[in-house]
Symmetry: C2
Amino acid sequence: MRNIKLIVEYDGTAYHGWQSQDNATAVQDVVTEAVNRLTGEKCSIIGSSRTDTGVHALGQVCNFFTNSKIPADKFAFALNTMLPDDIVIKHSEEVPADFHSRFSAKGKKYRYLIYNSTFPSALLRNRAYHVFYHLDCELMNKAAGHLTGTHDFIAFSAAGSSARTTTRTITQANVSRNGEMIEITVAGDGFLYNMVRIIAGTLVEVGFGKIPPDAISEIIAGRDRRKAGRTAPAHGLYLVEVYY
Amino acid sequence: MRNIKLIVEYDGTAYHGWQSQDNATAVQDVVTEAVNRLTGEKCSIIGSSRTDTGVHALGQVCNFFTNSKIPADKFAFALNTMLPDDIVIKHSEEVPADFHSRFSAKGKKYRYLIYNSTFPSALLRNRAYHVFYHLDCELMNKAAGHLTGTHDFIAFSAAGSSARTTTRTITQANVSRNGEMIEITVAGDGFLYNMVRIIAGTLVEVGFGKIPPDAISEIIAGRDRRKAGRTAPAHGLYLVEVYY
């Protein structure tokens, strides 16, 4: 059997996250249906990351095994004709049999968008978190710098995480502003449940002066979820890329 | 009576354009309903521009007369609590009695977004026109330069326009690329029906080499709609600003 890897972009607004579950449509269900229709098989689609309801992806990765003879790069075009327009396959290729979207992943990059303006934006309503009080982006960026490195991030993790260890290495964490849009970029070897959204919520509290930037190291060391900021809403979060 | 001016942002996806019409919901209807609910009056909302179905606005302008005593700058906040989240009032102010959103307008700026990539974008599906063949942005920008100045733009006008004259002055027309996004900006004293979409469609044909940039002057001079390019789809178009 051939192992086919897909890179998927989706608008998470209409879906109950990536992962299939009872009584709600997940992105995985829709991709599985399209793959099964195309191949005439019953394939299991393995995703790299469970994204929450409303979270978007520019580069979710998944893979499946098939006996189909379709050229690997043609899966993307063929599947797109069967998918709704809020889910797009951007790339397809054949990968070795031992490639596993989740277990082979070496790291991930996320982006979190904040629309920082007095009034909300009609066009960005499902695309960025609206914060109406002014945020100091330089303070946020300074705070983000304290996140990089290898730390126990349990203070930035929601309860219910199934991870065996809460230690992760963050390789990139920075915050930049372009007009009314603030972009938080975080990359690392892995992320705990809700970790990026808790990071974003904490950086927002830094941005309006509630948490000093240097307190980030103490929050990490304190290992207490209550010392970090609120969980920022899902619709500002984007899974940008998965590294292998 | 007081004359109140509003600046409105909207996502045009769910609406049959700005202007009220039978059997379909227009943005004007929704704004009128909110204003009437807030003031307890029956106000007529005068808009600056009829935007087509699917066209977006960052800065549509409208005005209405009211006896309401609400401070002018508070209309925006109050109306936003009554509007769906795909329509946002970004600004409200009191203006002189002779201000008329449409007749007082001195000029307008539009933006047209093209997503130029092999695959479409799930997140931009209602926000930018997807063109999968590569467009030469420099050729497009050169062609756009020929649009500036005062010309009879009947070749760039759809039939059914009610304008008395088809001569318009374009003060700005340029095309720039940022990665896979191509942005066309056009500003001028006024625009004929579908004019910006026909300009965008024509520039796309320049971008893939079907129309040479220098042919734009001939197309204008020829006054024949059939010599210009196709009408680009509505969902890439944004009314950015109205000048007074």
